[in-house]
């Protein structure tokens, strides 16, 4: 569905019609991605008592630009779209860059936010100079680096079970093709812009300290993009945090461990919404 008609802000609703009366789970993808990275988790929740909005971030794929240049600008634009859908109770779920956007978005939506799940997060989310340069000057090489470092070590990246979105699929090449598609559809500048936005974001600790809802940190054992130890300051800044580390998984944990991520989100969603309705 389109949250905003112009410029278009698109959200996948998990194969169900959006119902603002239900508790709503908002999914925010990471850099150079789109809503499809949440395929298994979003579709499951949409068929188990929640409304789902898995966004294409502004300037990404079906959502039109202008492409926000900062995490705060992403949150500003998404907050307008969320307001338009009349959802009153929300859980924000963000991956990587999307986790930073979730923090900022939570500060804008206040009491409506009943929980925040931060997947493969870090603060500061520093990007190496070499990778940042490559995103600007050598995009194919940068995508190769991101793809390799986004998956669990070595050959394990090619034999994770279950495959996502199902048997017969390659998580590894699927991720590379998705990044290539985003560049082709939304422009070559998206890659560099997304990584620069993550690298320069500075408001994470303040945003985390403002949260008055439960926060789930869902981290990955073999995450070399955002190593789990890099979430430490954010965890300390939150007043009500739970930390879960998925063993064996890399940065692309929604694809590498779709069942584990789904199960943790189902538990956290139940806790978040129950807590506010008791």
């Amino acid at each position: 569905m389109d949250l905003v008609a112009s410029p278009r802000l698109y959200a996948y609703t998990g194969g169900k019609k959006f119902d603002s009366a239900l508790p709503t789970v908002v999914f925010l993808h990471g850099g150079e991605h789109d809503h499809s990275v949440w395929a298994l988790q979003s579709r499951y929740l949409a068929h188990h008592g929640y409304s789902v909005l898995a966004l294409d971030l502004p300037g990404h794929m079906r959502s039109e630009g202008p492409l926000p240049q900062t995490i705060e600008a992403f949150a500003d634009r998404i907050a307008v779209g969320i307001a338009a859908c009349s959802a009153e109770r929300m859980l924000l779920v963000g991956h990587s860059m999307g986790s930073l956007i979730a923090l900022e978005l939570a500060t804008r939506l206040g009491e409506k936010i009943r929980g925040v799940a931060l997947l493969a997060t870090a603060f500061p989310m520093r990007v190496s100079t070499a990778l940042l340069d490559a995103t600007k000057n050598a995009a194919p090489a940068a995508m190769d680096m991101i793809n390799v470092w986004s998956h669990s070590a070595s050959i394990d990246a090619f034999n994770r079970k279950p495959s996502s979105p199902g048997p017969g699929f390659s998580n590894f090449w699927g991720n590379l093709r998705l990044m290539q598609r985003v560049a082709h559809r939304s422009g070559p500048e998206v890659l560099q812009s997304d990584f620069a936005a993550s690298n320069t974001y500075q408001h994470g600790l303040e945003a985390a300290a403002e949260l008055r809802c439960p926060v789930l940190f869902l981290l990955a054992q073999f995450d070399t993009m955002t190593p789990s130890r890099s979430a430490g300051k954010l965890i300390e800044a939150c007043s009500d945090s739970t930390v879960v580390t998925l063993r064996g998984s890399g940065h692309a944990l929604m694809a590498e461990n779709p069942d584990g991520v789904r199960d943790e989100l189902v538990r956290f969603a139940a806790r978040s919404f129950d807590r506010t309705t008791r």
Partner: protein, 431 residues
Amino acid sequence: MTARYPGFETLALHAGQPADPTTGSRAVPIYATAAYVFEDSDHAAALFNMERAGHVYSRISNPTVAVFEERIAALEKGVGAIATASGQAALHLAIVTLMGAGSHIVASRALYGGSHNLLGFTLARFGIDTTFVDPRDHAAWRSAVRPTTRLLFGETLGNPGLDVLDIPAVSAIAHERNLPLLVDSTFTTPYLMTPFDHGADLVYHSATKFIGGHGIAIGGVLVDGGTFDWSRSGKFETLTEPYAGFHGMNFADESTVAPFLLRARREGLRDFGACMSPHTAFFLLQGVETLPLRMQRHVENTRKVVAFLAAHSQVQSIAYPELESHPDHALAKQLLPRGCGAVFSFDLKGSRQAGRAFVETLRVFSHLANVGDAKSLVIHPASTTHFRVPDADLAAAGIGQGTIRLSVGLEDIDDLLEDLEQALNRAAKAS
């Protein structure tokens, strides 16, 4: 700073299979089961509704078959693969996933006979028409495209003259018209060429041939590169509009890069049912494990056989792209630097009788209708596969009275050359 992907040889051995979590089995287990027990009703519903990944019924997916699919996808750099009952089933699955009656295909005329028949006669009966073009004639590809065209199709190495498909050029023509290019990569395998690197969008194999490599199982596999933007094309409503046959699912909403595979599995395998058995997948996986080693040896032996035949007085001509005389020699050097495979044709001097005598005299080469076996194979088209075809039609297909097709195997090269020598001598006497 660079990132390194696992090498081809490693992927051929490991991709798609961790050690079995239940038993620790290092080899891929054969999951000989038709169906899979659900944990509860919710688990069942979630599997049926694509809310979670897993197996329901082995016509749709099977753990052993999935290892084969994921291994081939890894080697081809595809977003996924679907194993089928045969190579022909893979071709059929690709076509029926993309189009229906009233649609049109532009295909190379240098195709395997079975594929030519499917396109030229069988699918025409169901309202899907095909225009065949000279694969080297780029203008012909372009001018054959109609508003109803939904696919361009060719073989990486054409039949019988080993025409090298100019994938960069033909894919560019396809993409100019928002159409995908499908290639049959059976003769080249992912070891000699990965067509997605050159612009192809879909690839299939008769896995019976080099991928299996031992002539023991019939199978096919269809791979999606994830490179074609079905939504932007606007020509593929099977992928981009709600499908009443599967809960109104819009496959392009579900997956940005793999709606083709979702529809092909959820409709094509489900409804047409040409799936691969787990036993076949197991056989084929044994072949995949040694694919790089075998292809190196296949090419090494083939080069020596080609050199031997080229110097022989009883041989009139040889069609092998590594020879400077082949019209696609330069293109082959660009697209197939590791070699041009192990199947090729050559023409004997003399009559149809010479061809028959040659084939019947061979002792190491087996006379049969297959290619891509570890054992060397031979066939004389004029007296077997094409024996009812009039001479003029044979000539138009590039097949002469003395045309011989070899599939060079892995035997000791001296034994192969000795066998060919004595058979050539016999052919000379017969003519």
